[in-house]
């Protein structure tokens, strides 16, 4: 369906991981710009800056045919899995040219071609779908895995435990990926639970469970490799990735509930910068090469804004489309109904 951006089928090393993280970072920065320019559809834009290693580390071990669901802060994951950033940006702008023709927006992007079963604006809402995808894989004896990505806040939702229990019980090829950025809106994880060692819950349901530090993308990728391989073999898994939400909850939130010192420390845990430094220090890549890569990415992402801004608004006639399958009648518009009844037709 969609042309995929080169995403390695296995962890092909730090340069690639860096490149993908940089793409996510830059994309999110452009989303912020889109908003500032007044061109986004609404302000419910949740940037994943600071969480790039989770998206990129995990997705680096996903294969063709694998499926996944994401949450409201899912741009990075989708991009890391190979999405077209221009169509993403257009969707975020609510345009016809976006992935969902302007109906979904930032929180409801999907691409069946890439196995993206959908982002979700309901915290926890996308989690159980992977159980179903896991059943489909099992019954079809397909060697695929299905991953649910969600935030630490979703651990407040009962449906996570219902889903983990099912996955463990049926030994499904499923993995639960909790991106623990320490906050659900203004609530710090220790204000939301008495035990923030989230993987212990998964263990109690019989899953293979780990927590990794998101600062190191290679650690994330290694943990993901191991757990995903296990999940494919019928050992469903849970991976918590510790990171920090660099900015506010949504575009307008300035996080007044966080101390400056805490924020500064949190933003120090920058997986993108860390990978860059490592590449240079270990001599794998020269700073100038990295600068060139970054510049190329910046260009690519600049273009997404142009694409988004220049795209058409959805046609009014599309409003009644896709409530039901194309072969079905569309819902009768209120106007038609009223004209009809007043005309006694």
């Amino acid at each position: 369906m969609t042309e995929k951006n080169s995403m390695p089928g296995s962890n092909s090393g730090l340069p690639d991981l860096y490149r993908h993280m940089r793409r996510v970072r830059t994309f999110e920065e452009r989303v912020g710009e889109l908003f500032v320019r007044g061109k986004s559809a609404g302000s419910m834009l949740h940037l994943s800056v600071g969480e790039e290693s989770a998206a990129v580390g995990v997705c680096s071990h996903m294969h063709d045919g694998d499926t996944f669901t994401t949450h409201h802060r899912g741009h990075g994951i989708f991009l890391a899995r190979g999405a077209d950033p221009a169509r993403m940006m257009a969707e975020i702008a609510g345009k016809e040219t976006g992935y969902c023709h302007g109906k979904g927006g930032s929180m409801h992007i999907a691409d069946m071609g890439l196995g993206h079963l959908g982002a979700n604006a309901i915290v926890g809402g996308g989690i159980p779908a992977v159980v179903g995808a896991g059943l489909a894989a099992r019954n079809g004896k397909k060697d695929v895995v299905s991953l649910a990505f969600f935030g630490d806040g979703a651990t407040g939702q009962g449906i996570l435990y219902e889903s983990m229990n099912m996955a463990a019980l049926w030994r499904l090829p499923v993995m639960f990926v909790c991106i623990n950025n320490q906050y659900g809106m203004g609530t710090r994880i220790d204000q939301a639970t008495a035990n923030p060692r989230l993987h212990e819950r998964a263990e109690a349901f019989g899953l293979v469970a780990r927590t990794v530090d998101g600062l190191e993308v290679e650690e994330v990728a290694d943990a993901a490799a191991e757990l995903i391989a296990g999940a494919r073999a019928g050992k469903p898994a849970f991976l918590a990735i510790e990171c920090y939400r660099f900015y506010g909850h949504a575009r307008k939130d300035k996080s007044p509930y966080r101390a400056e010192a805490e924020e500064a420390e949190g933003r120090n845990k920058d997986p993108v910068l860390r990978a860059r430094t490592k590449l240079i220090e270990s001599g794998i890549m020269a700073e100038t090469d990295l600068d060139a890569m970054d510049a190329e990415i910046a260009q690519e992402m600049d273009a997404t804004i142009d694409f988004a801004v220049s795209g058409n608004e959805p046609q009014m006639s599309s409003m009644f489309r896709d409530v039901y399958a194309p072969e079905e009648a569309e819902p009768e518009p209120v106007r038609t109904r009223i004209e009809r009844i007043l005309a006694r037709q």
């Binding site: 969902c100 959908g118 309901i122 159980v131 009962g158 489309r321 039901y324 109904r337």
Partner: protein
């Protein structure tokens, strides 16, 4: 043509669909080894195995959510919700996910799943096991809604539902499972979405569905015998899509319509039917469309109170007489 029951017809529909299509799976609480709380899925696990008849933990929300994912990933899940009363736990997955996925994602994919469940009164099962909650579903764009009243439809409507490209909530009535009837599985059923005129009559039109259809038919008999009143009776069969084309000429002829629903009256299915019939047939109506529906109260466990919390054949008869006085 075989003689069977509503329950038997449902089971036959599931069996035939599973034989025809490998992708069909049944999932829910007690659907396998137990055979279903009302016995509908009895024996299916032996025939189709544990991978296709899946006993789940007591996790209604995740059952529906898993069915959504399964449908997106290529299966044709038939999820069972043991009682429609438990729909509250599933409403997010049903209304925010199943119903909206096709639309939100710009038509990329549909969610061809069934949520089979049952509702209604009649077993002294109390306030949390006797409700008729179809209005919640009918009010949710994106969800189809089918409610079979007859043995024929227990089979054919379920078979049709299982071929729909969009999610269908399929609500059976607990009071009908043992009802007997003839079934021709190879007969051409009424089209999906078409209502069925069960009885002609030019004095008043009674529009109903599910178990109340039988109350309406019984009332129509009494009215004919005792009062010479000719009541037309319509079985809606599906509430989404809904077929007013069939109802309209009948009401225009009779000039009087009554809608009968077991759901509570306020903001329920009866309200929609009454509003819609009024819109379509306004100039022909002698009286407002009369809503005979469940009382605006919870259902008691006391059999006496339970019985009178929803329309009875006697009450339908009485109302028709009042209308034609």
């Amino acid at each position: 043509m075989i003689e069977t029951t509503y329950r038997g017809a449902l089971r036959q529909a599931l069996t035939d669909a599973m034989q025809e299509n490998e992708a069909v799976v049944i999932m829910g609480e007690e659907v396998g080894r137990y055979g279903g709380a009302y016995g509908v899925t009895k024996g299916l696990i032996d025939e189709f195995g544990e991978d296709r008849v899946i006993d789940t933990p007591i996790s209604e929300a995740a059952i529906v959510g898993a069915a959504v994912g399964a449908a997106m990933a290529g299966l044709r899940p038939v999820a069972e919700l043991m009682y429609v009363d438990f729909i509250g736990m599933t409403m997010d997955q049903l209304a925010n996910q199943a119903a909206k996925i096709r639309y939100m994602f710009g038509g990329q994919i549909g969610v061809p799943m069934i949520l089979r469940t049952q509702g209604g009164t009649g077993r002294s099962a109390g306030a949390q096991h006797s409700q008729s909650l179809e209005a919640y579903v009918m009010h949710t764009p994106g969800l189809r809604l089918a409610m079979p009243a007859t043995v024929e439809d227990a089979y054919h409507l379920l078979r049709q539902a299982m071929k729909q490209p969009d999610p269908v909530v399929f609500i059976e009535h607990k009071g009908l499972y043992t009802m007997k009837g003839e079934l021709d599985t190879s007969a051409e059923p009424a089209a999906w979405g078409k209502a069925r005129v069960m009885r002609e009559g030019s004095d008043v039109v009674i529009v109903s569905y599910s178990r109340q259809l039988h109350h309406a038919l019984a009332a129509a008999d009494t009215l004919e015998k005792e009062n010479g009143i000719q009541a037309a009776v319509v079985d809606l069969r599906t509430l989404n899509p809904i077929d007013f084309a069939t109802i309209r000429p009948l009401v225009e002829q009779a000039g009087r319509a009554m809608v009968v629903s077991e759901g509570v009256m306020t903001a329920g299915v009866a309200a929609e039917l009454a509003a819609r019939i009024t819109e379509e047939c306004f100039d022909y109506l002698e009286d407002p469309v009369v809503r005979v529906a469940g009382e605006d109260i919870p259902i008691s466990v006391s059999p006496l109170l339970e019985k009178h919390s929803v329309p009875t054949p006697e009450f339908i008869t009485e109302v028709a007489r009042m209308m034609l006085k």
